[in-house]
């Protein structure tokens, strides 16, 4: 064979290869799969701490919100009698909130996430705790489990370090939860030991885990609050409201950390009574500060309520069990979507009126603009000692509040909302 024929053959083969490469379809984005571990404990470790009433309710509601969105949701909680009545069948799915069960669940979920990574999928992990927290004698934060505790060191060694998740979202509703993730102050020890401990603490710093985002109920050492009128912790109620879609200020179907922070800020903007003041610490993953905590564009087992732009004011959504699943104060001029369980009856309520609606199948949208309103026959006022709750959700949340909020904090805002195409 002549050199010319050989060159021609090689050129032909090269062209075939190039053409095949160019004709390949663009690589699809990896599939995102989600897992949730929800832990709650009403009972304190020590008699100096009061038994909580609604940590188990919060866990049950987190489970109901996340289970339809994740591949596997694990609930570690002992549901009290009232909660079991309100959530029939859920007790059978839950395990006790002990240290052993927690570690076992982490192992199993990490195993599944490891398989996902090998298969080219992107696992996301939600770790949620509702209950008592405290600081130990060294000032390190602890979460109180049933018959034991889970320390800050455990968080880093057992949850974050071995995690196979692409992103981890920590939601902690407990006293002193800030100290559960952040290190304490200066070290009163000798230099060599200090070096060891500094290295120990550095390895247990969120800065080493840029894939971790945190949402904590306290910015300092304040106690978290429970709200008897809605059988929930105030913080968890606001977080779930935000994550159900009420915080999606640019209507892109995603709730980012800045939207969640702004939503909680607006909900508490007019609370002046220190008993009702809520402080939150929230930090997005350093690797992607625009990472969404929830993304309702993805297929899930949830249905959706679409509220029209013309509706404004404070409203909440309650189900047939009387569970207040979401609450918000909507700015007029923007739509709002709330993710709900499918095939259920709900009421959209304000202080003056209510409208009944039924959600469709999973994925279906209910148009709240067609709601038939009636006067609200239920007294919305709670007991006198909860009067300080009435200032909650009195500030409208929407693009205007959000713009002012991010401007004051200096953080980058979410993307502008998509607009209608006005080209011919």
């Amino acid at each position: 064979m002549s050199l010319a024929m050989l060159a021609l053959g090689r050129f032909f083969l090269w062209s075939l290869a190039l053409g095949a490469t160019l004709c390949q379809p663009a690589l699809a984005a990896p599939e995102r799969v989600q897992y949730a571990l929800i832990v709650a404990n009403n009972s304190p470790e020590t008699p100096d701490l009061a038994t909580l009433k609604f940590a188990d309710d919060d866990a049950a509601r987190y489970y109901e919100l996340l289970a339809p969105q994740v591949r596997e949701a694990v609930l570690l909680a002992v549901l009290d009698e009232e909660t079991q009545k309100r959530h029939p069948g859920l007790a059978a799915l839950s395990r006790p909130p002990t240290r052993q069960e927690l570690l076992s669940a982490l192992d199993r979920l990490n195993g599944r996430m490891s398989e996902d990574r090998r298969a080219g999928r992107e696992p996301v992990f939600f770790f949620i705790f509702s209950g008592h927290g405290k600081r130990d004698q060294a000032g390190e934060g602890l979460l109180l489990l049933l018959g034991g505790s889970f320390s800050r060191a455990d968080l880093f060694e057992k949850v974050l370090a071995p995690s196979q998740a692409d992103f981890i979202h920590l939601v902690i509703d407990a006293c002193d939860s800030y100290y559960f993730v952040s290190s304490r102050g200066s070290l009163p020890v000798g230099q060599s030991y200090a070096e060891l401990v500094t290295r120990y603490l550095d390895e247990r710093s969120l800065a080493r885990y840029p894939n971790v985002g945190v949402v904590l109920s306290t910015a300092g050492s304040q106690e978290s609050h429970e709200w008897a009128a809605i059988s929930s912790g105030v913080f968890s109620h606001q977080i779930r409201s935000a994550l159900s879609g009420a915080a999606d200020v640019n209507m892109d179907g995603r709730v980012e950390y800045s939207e969640l922070r702004a939503f909680v800020a607006s909900a508490n903007a007019r609370v002046e009574d220190p008993r009702g003041k809520l402080h939150m610490f929230a930090l997005p993953p350093a690797r992607d500060r625009a990472a969404a905590i929830t993304d309702y564009r993805r297929p899930s087992g949830l249905a959706y309520l679409l509220l029209p732009a013309e509706l404004g004011g404070r409203h909440w959504v309650e189900d047939e069990r009387g569970v207040r699943v979401a609450e918000f104060h909507k700015e007029q001029g923007r739509h709002l979507v709330v993710a709900l369980l499918p095939g259920r009856t709900y009421w959209l309520r304000s202080l003056a009126r209510e409208a009944r609606f039924v959600t469709g199948a999973a994925g279906a949208v209910v148009d709240g603009g067609g709601a038939s309103w009636a006067e609200n026959g239920i007294a919305a006022r709670g007991s006198l000692d909860e009067a300080f709750r009435e200032a909650l959700f009195t500030t409208p949340f929407g693009p205007r509040f959000y713009a002012g909020y991010v401007s004051s904090t200096g953080e980058p805002p979410v993307a502008e909302p998509a607009r209608p195409d006005l080209s011919p």
Partner: protein, 214 residues
Amino acid sequence: MVLLPLEPLATTTAAARGREDQLRAALARGKGICLEERSRTLAKLSGGGDAFRCSDRLCRAALSERLDADWILSGSVVGLGGREQLSLVAWDRSGQQVRRLVLGAGEGTGGLVFLLEDVPAPRPPRSRLSTYLLAGAGLAAAAVGTGLGMSSSQRARAISEGRTGCAGGGTEYQQCFAGVVSAGRSEATVANGLFGAAVLLGGGAAVLLVVEIP
């Protein structure tokens, strides 16, 4: 009917436009629906931004007036749960009759039948012939009435100045004089009647000018 650009919710502008084009094509195939061209609608909306939402009847009526539409169809393309759905709102010219529909991705456009059921067919352009005829008749009545009125006035002046044209005396003069007076009165009566008819005819023409009669 006017279809406003659909708003994207949890989806992209391009995706919303794609669904809008599909909807527009489906409406164009619908019987008895005269859908305005998109370019014409956009031209009417230019300068008003992209906010087409109305929260009350007055706003809806004002928008209908601005767009000169018997029916307006507005809404959003909602990209939740892994699929796209249309959330549509239609209202009539008065803004009072409002209909809503959520159309799933797999439902095709059959649901539009429900949304647009009993929507009146487009009105033919209203004829103004009757208005013109009434106005013309009124003018004619006014003109003739004016002429007769002037003639009656001249007769009255002539009678007062003794220029009746009657000669002679006795019964013959009386009969002539009575005839002149009678003629003048008749002219005045007819003139008054014609003026009244002119007012009625002119008023009727004015009513037809501003009010639509099916």
